[in-house]
């Protein structure tokens, strides 16, 4: 008999000692261990650790995601131009190869750490943690983490950020939120980038894009922006100001996909 729980495990069964769930016998020669453990627990643990770092240093961390070529780096350059004199900004850049994006950010006088992921299609919490060692978080107000251009995997890995911002360029299809539901359900803010092109594009409807986001039960604001038109950036920078103030106020900001772990709710 098993000494942990009195089940009928035979002595040669290897016992899982750190299982949080109940242990019960399935058959005379087998044990069933009920676990209900998130498979991404290892990453989530590292993400929580990153978030502690950010909060201890009063840093607002924003995960910026989009498909390749939607203008993430251009938007960050324009954002630095817009609020760089008011807030101290730093950037972590994720790309498969090259330092190009980090160089563009450094050219603006802002610290940037490039993570080259090789063939990995997303950043994870451990990569971000390693990159944090290259930054002086005491000298940072807002940290942008520019994820690898990809609308699939980045949505599944918590990095420790306070919010997810997803760019949807108006040169893409306005039904992308319906095609990539995991990503757009996780978005706390959707920026319609390259919005200066809306005048010449007749096939992108911001309303249709908004309907697709609402169909994911996501109340996120949907804001048209153009990196080439500084005056369009105001709602975006105001959104950042609001969150930075909340962060400084000690509010526990969490991205949408982290604040509602539905799997845990369902398993209770």
């Amino acid at each position: 008999m098993c000494e942990h729980c009195g089940c009928a495990a035979t002595p040669n069964v290897v016992h899982v000692s750190d299982a949080k769930g109940t242990v019960s016998a399935k058959a005379a020669d087998a044990v069933s261990v009920e676990l209900v453990t998130g498979i991404l627990h290892e990453n989530d643990h590292a993400a929580a650790h990153n978030r502690e770092h950010f909060e201890r240093h009063g840093v607002l961390a924003i995960n910026v995601m989009s498909s390749p070529g939607s203008g993430k780096t251009s938007l960050l350059e324009a954002t630095i131009d817009a609020i760089g004199d008011k807030h101290r900004i730093a950037v972590i850049e994720g790309d498969l190869e090259t330092e190009n994006d980090a160089k563009r950010i450094r050219a603006k006088g802002v610290p940037a750490v490039q993570i080259t992921t090789g063939s990995a299609c997303h950043l994870d919490a451990h990569m971000v943690h390693d990159a944090l060692h290259a930054l002086d978080l005491d000298a940072v107000d807002i940290l942008f983490i520019e994820n690898v251009g990809n609308l699939v995997c980045p949505a599944s890995f918590d990095l420790g950020q306070h919010a997810n911002v997803t760019l949807l360029a108006v040169t893409e299809g306005d039904d992308k939120p319906a095609k990539y539901p995991v990503m757009f359900r996780a978005s706390d803010l959707v920026l319609l980038s390259k919005a200066d092109l809306l005048d010449v594009l007749d096939d992108f409807s911001p309303d249709r894009a908004a309907d697709c986001v609402r169909a994911l039960a996501n109340p996120a604001e949907i804001v048209p922006v153009s990196a080439r038109r500084a005056e369009t950036l105001h709602p975006w920078t105001a959104w950042l100001d609001e969150r930075l103030a909340a962060c400084r106020n000690g509010e526990a900001l969490r991205p949408r996909n982290v604040q509602s772990p539905a799997g845990l709710v369902a398993a209770e």
Partner: protein, 96 residues
């Protein structure tokens, strides 16, 4: 081992099964079997207070159509259960 995988988890069960067969080869777990339970997306409507199943990209309430709903299930990637079967020859387990 039994996994629960929802349509909003970002994981494709058939690819995961294939990867598992490669990952278990030549390890202590080479006879391990993976069973995947496909859990549906379930939403709870803030307006009418009922739970309905939904498609991954159409999460509105199945009863009234409102989009203000709370996801109750569907984004999980969860290890639910491990069935441990003793080996023919007792294995000497080493900790860590």
């Amino acid at each position: 081992m039994v996994l629960a995988v929802g349509p909003l988890s970002g994981v494709e069960p058939s690819l995961l099964s294939r990867a598992f067969r490669l990952a278990r080869a030549s390890t202590i777990a080479e006879n391990a079997e993976l069973e995947i339970e496909h859990t549906p997306a379930v939403v709870w409507c803030d307006t009418c207070g009922v739970e309905t199943e939904a498609a991954a990209n159409a999460l509105s309430c199945g009863r009234c159509g409102a989009w203000k709903v709370t996801l109750k299930a569907g984004n999980e990637l969860m290890l639910k259960r491990v069935d441990l079967v003793p080996a023919e020859e007792p294995i000497v387990a080493t900790a860590g």
